[in-house]
């Protein structure tokens, strides 16, 4: 029986205390004090839905032979590209084979569970195995809006297959409605929503019970049979009411992470699901419900195999890796809401030559270099002639992936002259264990905490955004780590 074989999660390191937001701009909407509790996760300036999906995907693929992955389904309502397959970028960054099926799932917020259903049914059919479902969102609320407080950035990934299943997929029930509670037009930056009361009374109070009861009828189960029930509703009163109406026991209610992360859109029910799997016991039944333009309800049963993936992967570890974002204006500037002046140097124009991107795609996306078949030296980039001065063999480079290698800082600096959205620009030379070196931008770190020799892991990031041409360019950065898993 098809099911979940592995899981991964990602929460960006920066957390913004909602009180900081309210302190800065609460004057616009005094009633927003009701939302000004807890923290929201904020993607760094070099992160977006693609990079977060990749991070979650890497987490889920830990210890798994990537050549065995048949497909990538990427769900998000904040896809960086309307045309150019976003899942294709994710596939390349994960270092998967070119011969995979990949698709973007988008639109309504239940796209994450719909992608999961497509993968589960694909695996169940026997025509595909090891499909990676990854979902990420980084939705924007207008400054001073409730959504700005409520939304948070996060990602989840689930590997779906029929071997080594940790949570069997038993059944599902879906409802779809054209329900404009939240909407964003094709040319609109910010989420817009209709009145809260209508969303609660009609959307949440009716659609979620309809999907849950539909599934219960289909399976003959009771809500009480489920060890965990997952439903992404951020309104505290509506959550209570639903729990009462559906009869969900307090211990079965999976936290929605509203105080720690915020609502992560398409990703959210999968983020909650991954979080639940981290604690799940064999035999647990889990009910996963999504919400947005209708609902999907999915029923899983945890197996004995769950113990095998309990190695620290998932949402909790990402949650624990946390740094306070002390400035509301950083959020505004990084999301291009507040046009800050980064100086003339920042205005130099560089345009992406897609023919060049294609030639170096393996390096750009998968951080592939080469390993010389003559002398065994790993090197990046993989040039035609081996870098080892004692070797110099021509045409002997075999693909060698650096993205999963541990590196160490050989030298570093923090550059205040470089135009960076978060000065100083920190970068330096990284030497990889096993050989190979390259100069990388560093991210998610503080200059004062760096020292030569410190270990670094590699992270796929948005290297640049070309506003004039609406191009997001990606490459890898080094993330200094005090402790390495």
């Amino acid at each position: 029986m098809a099911g979940i074989c592995s899981y991964g999660g990602y929460v960006p390191r920066y957390r913004l205390n909602r009180g900081v937001i309210f302190g800065a701009i609460g004057w616009v909407n005094a009633a927003n004090i009701a939302n000004a509790r807890g923290e929201k996760a904020v993607a760094n300036f070099d992160e977006d839905s693609i990079t977060m999906a990749v991070a979650a995907g890497i987490d889920a693929l830990g210890g798994i032979d990537r050549s065995k992955v048949d497909g990538v389904y990427f769900a998000s309502s904040t896809l960086p590209y309307k045309e150019r397959l976003n899942a294709g970028i994710v596939t390349g960054a994960l270092g998967l084979e070119d011969q995979v099926r990949a698709a973007d799932f988008t639109g309504g917020l239940k796209a994450g569970t719909t992608a999961l259903l497509a993968a589960l049914e694909g695996a169940e059919s026997g025509r595909a195995n090891n499909l990676l479902v990854t979902a990420a969102d980084s939705r924007l609320g207008k400054p001073a809006s409730p959504q700005e407080m409520i939304f948070g950035d996060a990602a989840a990934a689930l590997l779906v297959g029929k071997e080594g299943v940790i949570a069997e997929f038993k059944d599902s029930y879906s409802v779809t409605y054209d329900f404009g509670d939240h909407y964003r037009g094709a040319h609109t930056k910010f989420d817009a929503q209709w009145e809260d009361r209508w969303i609660r009374d009609l959307g949440i109070d009716q659609f979620i019970p309809e999907a849950v009861n539909g599934l219960l009828r289909k399976t003959g189960l009771q809500v009480g049979d489920f060890a965990k029930v997952i439903y992404p509703v951020h309104y505290p009163a509506a959550r209570k009411k639903l729990a009462k109406v559906l009869g969900i026991a307090p211990e079965a209610e999976q936290t929605n992470l509203q105080m720690e992360v915020g609502e992560s859109g398409v990703a959210h029910s999968l983020v909650m699901f991954v979080h639940a799997l981290e604690e799940a016991k064999p035999g647990d039944k889990i009910l996963v419900v999504s919400y947005g333009s209708g609902c999907d309800a999915l029923y899983f049963e945890v197996t004995e195999e769950i113990e095998k993936v309990r190695d620290g992967r998932g949402i909790s570890a990402a949650l624990a890796n946390k740094a306070e974002l002390d400035s509301y204006t950083k959020l505004l500037v990084w999301r291009n809401i507040l046009p800050a002046d980064f100086g003339k140097r920042s205005e130099e124009d560089h345009w992406t030559r897609f023919s060049a991107v294609w030639r170096i795609r393996k390096m750009l996306l998968g951080l592939y270099g080469g390993k010389c078949t003559e002398c065994g030296t790993p090197q990046i980039p993989a040039q035609d002639i081996c870098v080892n001065p004692e070797c110099g063999a021509v045409g002997t480079q075999e693909p060698y992936r650096f993205s999963d290698k541990l590196g160490h800082i050989a030298s570093f600096t923090g550059d205040n002259l470089a135009a960076s959205p978060d000065p100083p620009a920190i970068y330096g030379q990284v030497e990889f264990e096993g050989g190979g070196k390259f100069m990388f931008d560093f991210t998610d770190c503080v200059l004062d905490e760096l020292s030569p020799g410190m270990p670094v892991t590699m992270s796929f990031r948005r290297k640049y955004y070309d506003e004039a041409r609406d191009i997001s360019g990606y490459f890898w950065k080094a993330v200094p780590a005090k402790e390495v898993k």
Binding site: E348, A356, Q379, N416, L417, A418, M439, Y464
Partner: protein, 399 residues
């Protein structure tokens, strides 16, 4: 068997503009200024110049490509003119080409002129030259950030404390400011204390503002000829001859192979050893009279003192802090203020350094900034970054 360049070429004349933020001057004005100065010193007429080399680096904000900017600006009469470009070694490459033309016996009198107009970008630091591939995979790096990493790597390699490295860096910059303050052609003419240097705003850790050289406009030129012609034209003047010209360019080993420690310049070590040999120098620490080195940043000058085989490896801080390279030290360095204070118009710097050595050798400088009895002067350019670069070294001297 190749014999090298030693004593085959003489410097007949040199010229140099005032370096600085020359808002009033274009690259074309600067070329003329240096050329007129140079031609007057050489004591010849323009029509006697048989070939010319133009050194200029940033065609993006400067005179664009090719050699016509020089020939049309100086109104050179349909002679061979060629542009050289090799990062910060650009002007030394023009000089080298001119010297080789003479040494080969192809021409008798050849001009080398380097020029750079940097102050038309609207921002501080060097112009952006990010390449097509570079902006996709390269760091968001600037020159100070690339060179600053020498400090952390040097600290790791030799165990010298960051405090000692910073003390040495401050001494290096203070010394160059003191020298530059005395030089009317220098860009930055204010003496600063080591305390001021250490308290300056951070540009790229650990380099503060005063650890970084000036970004300047300027031009410098040389006219070279055979020793025989020089003797006949200037029978009553000391003759300055070329003793060595060496260039070493990275193979990519530093950037891509883990054997390199990031704390030294592989190119400089190679070029310096060859230059000393070509010039017949056995012990550079004793025999070199003075130097102009590539002090784009104070830390560059610090490690270069070792790479030129003058300070012991890992021991440059001691020499620097003991005043070995001060104007009254054993091997005065940056006697005209260096890149730090004389300024650094990329494509002119190599010839400016040779000019500084030349005026010392001919005893043309005022007493206050004079090197005692100079015999051999070494110049050193380093273009690129520590991880991949071009190094050019020239040694000129009088017998």
């Amino acid at each position: 068997m190749a014999e090298g360049i030693r004593d085959k070429v003489a410097v007949l004349g040199m010229g140099c503009t005032k370096f600085g933020e020359r808002w009033e001057a274009s690259a074309y004005n600067l070329m003329v200024e240096a050329f007129v100065d140079c031609l007057a010193d050489a004591g010849i007429e323009k029509k006697e110049i048989q070939a010319a080399y133009l050194g200029t680096h940033f065609d993006e904000v400067n005179v664009s490509k090719g050699a016509t900017p020089l020939s049309m600006t100086l109104r050179l009469p349909f002679i061979p003119v060629t542009r050289t470009e090799n990062f910060c070694a650009t002007a030394t490459e023009a000089f080298r080409a001119a010297c080789y033309s003479v040494a080969a016996g192809v021409y008798d009198i050849v001009l080398a002129l380097g020029v750079e107009k940097l102050k038309d970008t609207g921002y501080g630091g060097l112009p952006d030259i990010t390449s097509v591939d570079g902006f996709m995979t390269g760091c968001n790096a600037t020159a100070p950030g690339a060179f600053a990493q020498l400090a952390t790597a040097y600290h790791k390699k030799w165990g010298v404390s960051m405090e000692t490295i910073k003390d040495a860096m401050a001494h290096i910059s203070a010394k160059s400011h003191a020298n530059g303050a005395m030089n009317p052609k220098a860009h930055l003419r204010r003496a600063v204390t080591e305390e001021q240097i250490k308290a300056a705003p951070m540009i790229a850790y650990p380099l503060g503002l005063f650890d970084c050289c000036g970004v300047s406009d300027g031009a410098a030129a040389a006219i070279v000829t055979t020793p025989e012609i020089a003797r006949s034209l200037k029978p009553n003047q000391d003759m300055v001859k070329v003793k060595s010209l060496q260039v070493a360019v990275s193979s990519g080993e530093e950037a891509g192979y883990t054997a390199w420690d990031g704390a030294h310049f592989m190119t400089t070590r190679v070029a310096a050893a060859k230059a000393h040999e070509e010039a017949g120098i056995k012990n550079p620490r004793e025999e070199i009279s003075m130097m102009e080195v590539h002090d784009c940043f104070s830390i560059t000058e610090l490690v270069t003192m070792e790479d030129l085989h003058i300070s012991p490896k890992g021991g440059a801080c001691d020499d620097v802090l003991n005043g070995f390279y001060d104007l009254d030290g054993q091997v005065p360095c940056q006697v005209d203020g260096g890149l730090k204070c004389f300024g650094h118009p990329i494509g002119a710097s190599g010839l400016r350094m040779i000019y500084a050595m030349y005026e010392q050798l001919l005893d043309r400088v005022p007493e206050e900034r004079k090197v005692k009895n100079p015999r051999l002067g070494l110049t050193h350019n380093l273009g690129g970054t520590p991880a991949w670069n071009v190094c050019a070294i020239s040694i000129i001297g009088k017998d």
